[in-house]
Structures are given as C-alpha cells and as structure tokens.
Symmetry: D3
Subunit: 131 residues, 6 copies
Amino acid sequence: MAIVPKISDQDANPEARAVFDDIRATRNSDQINDFWRVLANDPPHAAAVWAQAKTVMAPGALDALTKELIYVAVSVANNCEYCIHTHTESARAKGMTVEQHNELMRVIALAATTNRIAIGYQIEPDERFRK
Amino acid sequence: MAIVPKISDQDANPEARAVFDDIRATRNSDQINDFWRVLANDPPHAAAVWAQAKTVMAPGALDALTKELIYVAVSVANNCEYCIHTHTESARAKGMTVEQHNELMRVIALAATTNRIAIGYQIEPDERFRK
Amino acid sequence: MAIVPKISDQDANPEARAVFDDIRATRNSDQINDFWRVLANDPPHAAAVWAQAKTVMAPGALDALTKELIYVAVSVANNCEYCIHTHTESARAKGMTVEQHNELMRVIALAATTNRIAIGYQIEPDERFRK
Amino acid sequence: MAIVPKISDQDANPEARAVFDDIRATRNSDQINDFWRVLANDPPHAAAVWAQAKTVMAPGALDALTKELIYVAVSVANNCEYCIHTHTESARAKGMTVEQHNELMRVIALAATTNRIAIGYQIEPDERFRK
Amino acid sequence: MAIVPKISDQDANPEARAVFDDIRATRNSDQINDFWRVLANDPPHAAAVWAQAKTVMAPGALDALTKELIYVAVSVANNCEYCIHTHTESARAKGMTVEQHNELMRVIALAATTNRIAIGYQIEPDERFRK
Amino acid sequence: MAIVPKISDQDANPEARAVFDDIRATRNSDQINDFWRVLANDPPHAAAVWAQAKTVMAPGALDALTKELIYVAVSVANNCEYCIHTHTESARAKGMTVEQHNELMRVIALAATTNRIAIGYQIEPDERFRK
C-alpha cells in the first residue's frame, strides 16, 4: 500500500488538477496512472516532474519508442517494480514487438554481467579514455 | 589497477587467442579492449561472454545503435565506469549524435527520479497489472 | 513470506527475549516489529544490531527526526520496502510533517537525478577535491 | 576524464550562461562546479536541473543543512563519487560539524545493514502497513 | 504478475522444451521453476542462460554449496526477491544449515556497512593496490 | 582523496589506538589498512565496526575463506572499489586460488544476469514461497 493516499480528481487542488488535465490531453486518454495520483499529494512536485517528463519523453533526436526502451532498462537496473510495469506497457503501446522486448531484456542481462565483471576485476578505462 | 594482469596476444592461451581473433574479425579492428585482456585470465569465461555479446549485440529486431544506448543506460544505472566509457564510445561509433547523447542522458536522469519517487512513496503497480 | 519464521515472545531464547524487552523499554511501547522477530532467529545478530541501532539512533549531534529522515533516504535509495514503511512511520512519530515528507522526497528525487548525470557523463570531482 | 568537455564561460551559449550567472548570484560565489560546466553541453537540461535544484534545496519545511545531509546520504547509497565530495563540502559550508558528519555516516552505515537484513530474510512490511 | 506468461510444457517450442528437459535431467527433479517458464518466452535466451548456469554452478574449484551462498549474497545485494527465495532454497537443498544461513546473513550485513563507510568517506584503495 | 584525514598511530586517541592494537594482534600483522585509519576519525564507530567485523569474520559454521568470498561478492554487487581490492587480497591470503577466483567471478556474473532477468520480467516467487 502506498505511504500516502491516491488523490482523486475531486480531491486534487487546482495545481494537481491541471497536471491531471494536461496528462489526459497529452496522452489523449482519460487514464491517470497511480504514480500521478500519489505524487499529487505534493502538487508542485507533481507539476515539476510532469513538465520534465512531458519534455523529455517527446520524440526528438530519439524516437518515442527508443526512449521508452531506455526507460525500461533504467527501471530494471534500479529495480523499480512500478516503473517496469508502466513503461513496459508504454513501450508496447508505442509499438514494441515481442521480439524487441526479448532483445531489450537480452541487452539488459548482458550489460548486467559485463558491468559486474568490469567492477569485480576493477578493470580501468582503456588508456585512450584517461587523461 | 585491475586485480589481475592484462593478457597480451603472446601470453593468451589458444582459447583466449581465439576470442581475441574473433573480436578483431567481428569488429574489423585490431583493437582489443582491456575488458577482454583482463577476462582472458579465465579463457572459458571470456569465450562464453564474448559468444553471448556477439549474439546479443548484433542487429536484430533492435538496431545496433539502439542496443548500445540501452547498454549505456544500464551501465550508468549500475555505475560501471569502465562500461560507460566503452559503450558511449561504441554508441558514437555507431552514429550516436551529440543531441541523441543528450536525450539519452535526459531519459536516464528522468527515470532515476521517477524510480525513486515510486519507491519512496511505495506506489503499487496500477490495478490492471495485478492479478 | 519471510524466509525464516517470526519468533514469538514465548519462543524467544533468553538473548532474543532480552532484545525484545529492551526494545519495549527503549521505545516505551509493547510493539515489536517483525524485523526483530525475524532477526531473533539469530539472537547474537539481533543483539548486536539492536545495540548498534539503539546507540546510533539516539539523539546526539543530530536530532532523532533528522536521523530518521536520513534513514528513510538511504532505504529509498537501497529500495528496501520493509525499511521505507517502518522508518517513514518512525519519522512521523517523531514529528515529521506532511510538508517535511514532501521535501524529503524532493531531495531524494533530485539527488537521484544529479547522481546519474554525474555518473553518466563521468564528471570527475572538482580539482580542489583531488590530490 | 568526463565524456564531454567542460564549457567555459566564453563557450557557454546564452541559455547555459544564464544558468552560470544564476548559480553565481544564488550562491554568492564566483565558483561554478564542474557538474554545471559539463551539463552545460546540454543547456536546456542544465537549465531544467538547475531550476529544480534551486527550488528543492532552498530552506523550507526542512532547513538547508538537513537537506544537504539527506543529499549526501542518497549520494553515498548511489555511490556517486562526484556528488559525495560536492555535497559533503556543501554540508560543511552550511555548518555541519565533525560530530554531525560522523553521526550521518553512522546512520548511513546502520541503514545499509538493516536494509540488507530485511531484504535477505525477505521480511514483509508489518501487518499494519498492508491492505 | 509477470509481464509475460509462463510457458507450459505443452506450449514450449522444441528449443524451450529441450531446456526444460535438461533442467529436469540435471536436477533429477520434475520441477521447473517459474524463472525458466517465463524466460521460455525467448527460447534462445533461455537456452543460453541455462547453458551458462549449468556450467557455472557445477562443482569445480568451489563446491556447489559455496556457489549457492555467493549467489544468495549477490541476489540480496541486488535486491532480487525471486532469486533470494530460489537460491536460499537451493542452498538448503545442498546442505546449508541454519547456522550457516545466519553467518551468511551476518557477512552480507557487515559488508553492506563497511562498503557504505568506505564509499561515504571516499577511502581510496591502499597504496599497495595503486599503480 | 578521502574526505577526512588518515589517523596515524600517534594521532589516534586511546579508543582508536586500542582498535589498531587489536587489529594488529588479531591479524598478526603490523599493517593497518586505510579503512581503519579513516574510520578512526570517529573512534566509537571504529570500535563498534571492528568488534562486529572481528566476530563475524571469525571461522564458525562457515570457514574464513568462504566468508571472504561472500564479502567480495557483496562488495562487487555494491561496487565498492576499496572493499573489492582489500577483500580479494584477504581471500588470497586465506588461500583463494586463481581458479577459485575465476569461479567466484563467474557466479557473480551469472547472478547479475539472472537477477536482472527475474526483475525485468517481474517474475513472482514460485507458488511454494507464497503465503
């Protein structure tokens, strides 16, 4: 159970309600994920995070699906159950195929292994990366 | 300093040398990164990791650059200095632009924030993700 | 489900029972959290951890609430579900207001972002911190 | 060595320069830490992170020193060398005494231990925290 | 709930079925853990991971129980709920006593503390470990 | 550079000096690692950690080498450069062979991979582990 309650549309103050409204408009969906309903307990924080998320996740030099794949990868490495569910779903909604999901997981699993090998043997960055 | 020595071409046993040769052939470069020279202290492990890396990082349902971006994202989340340097370089070699690098870092930074918010408030996966 | 059973007052051996008794006396409450009932499977470990916790968390140069805020921050960064619930509750019991909780979460979220940016770009400590 | 160059005052574009100027004005110091000089390679990201940092770290329901202690705690848990140096220095500048630093480290060390015990034995949140 | 379905024996393709069969033969048990039923959604990944696991976990210079203890230690540090349950069970099946489990947990808890102290004070490797 | 100075034998207060003396007597060596010289800035913390370390690392139900292997595994997972160097050296001093070191690293690398797969697919503990 979350440590603070979920804020309903009715209970949201104007700042939080504006975040909900913009999420709905941006995503063209009536759905508000619990992440935002919980963070709405701190409306200025919700507004700041949403503004950043809206900007960062918009297609740019990287397309929207690639950004979601990166988001899932970070969330798996950070072990965030909530974020893994939500962003895997988002990736699927943006077109991630089963095979792409499998390849994403293979890269995450490979990197986990080589990260630990490099750390365990304390391999220094190659000469060309050092001053 | 690495905990075990780097294995030169001359000191590599046949199994390790075969890994070095295949890396050179696959990457079409004479360069062998220190990761492999260190892991060559355990030739069967080097062979197994290289076989997995060669398969996983080959273009498939995800292109080679996208895989490198995911690799960098995991390495940053796992705080692997060696891997961040090497795979950022690989991503650049596969065409990552400055703006793509910036967007990669923005997604990593955003996910780090939202991961911690979800964890800190103990937000449970939305109803639709639960049994 | 925990991997080992919870130890009831009756089943506790004298060393574990002494820990329970001292927790009750120190906290002026009859409540024994499951953390201690589980750790009581290894009474000497329970005794050592409790002795350390009692000393470390007592008000000193830092007041008791500040220590709880730090405890929550570490527990969120380490993703410890059990500890987040328990120490957020302890912080509230020691007077943490809703606004303080929100500010705690904002600092945790900000630090998560800047930590990853510093790591992702491999920013070295400023010259004045280096030998 | 950082993966991207540090941006000098002269090389900063107007958006990055505005960040540098506001850091100098806010902190009443001419010093710009390398974090900002590196992040200035992506001026909009620098501006967004600085805006968030300036807001979040200002004294509020928690005083400025307490916020720095929390920042250090998260940075230690996340193992961010850069951030540990910088924010320990900031905490000292805001009045952290040697004894407070020691107590901060004791709480971080204690939480690290109890976090791992709770995780290792898979202790579930006490009944009162569950639905 | 897992993000992808568990694959039954009937639904497994030949590559996945061969993994299931080899797990049964190697472990001399009819039980297939959900890890493998989920990973069987990506049969080549399942085959690669199983091949590696079978090789790595076989008794060698380290006995099978010692390998399981190490596996549990890593899984606790990485906070993998699934892996902690499974590998603690495996360790017990290979003879881990209650007292050995307790000592394992004590070492994990101690290392968590000293790791954070070394990081928090930024203690550099002793002179003899540096170039 | 460490954030606080190393305490020499001459500068150590009696409580810190007693820790140094007991380390020398216990290890039968004149060497005091920098970890203890840094932690000696907080003598009660040094005394508490050393008392715990001396007890926990003594041979018991697990032998001294096995405990060092577990210590290294945790330190690699936690990415503690200082601790990886020191405890790999300790493991060697207690008889760890090259082949045992290789197998340790293979288990750490394998667990890193399977931990991330279990987390990435959100595989729940098998039915028998659930209430």
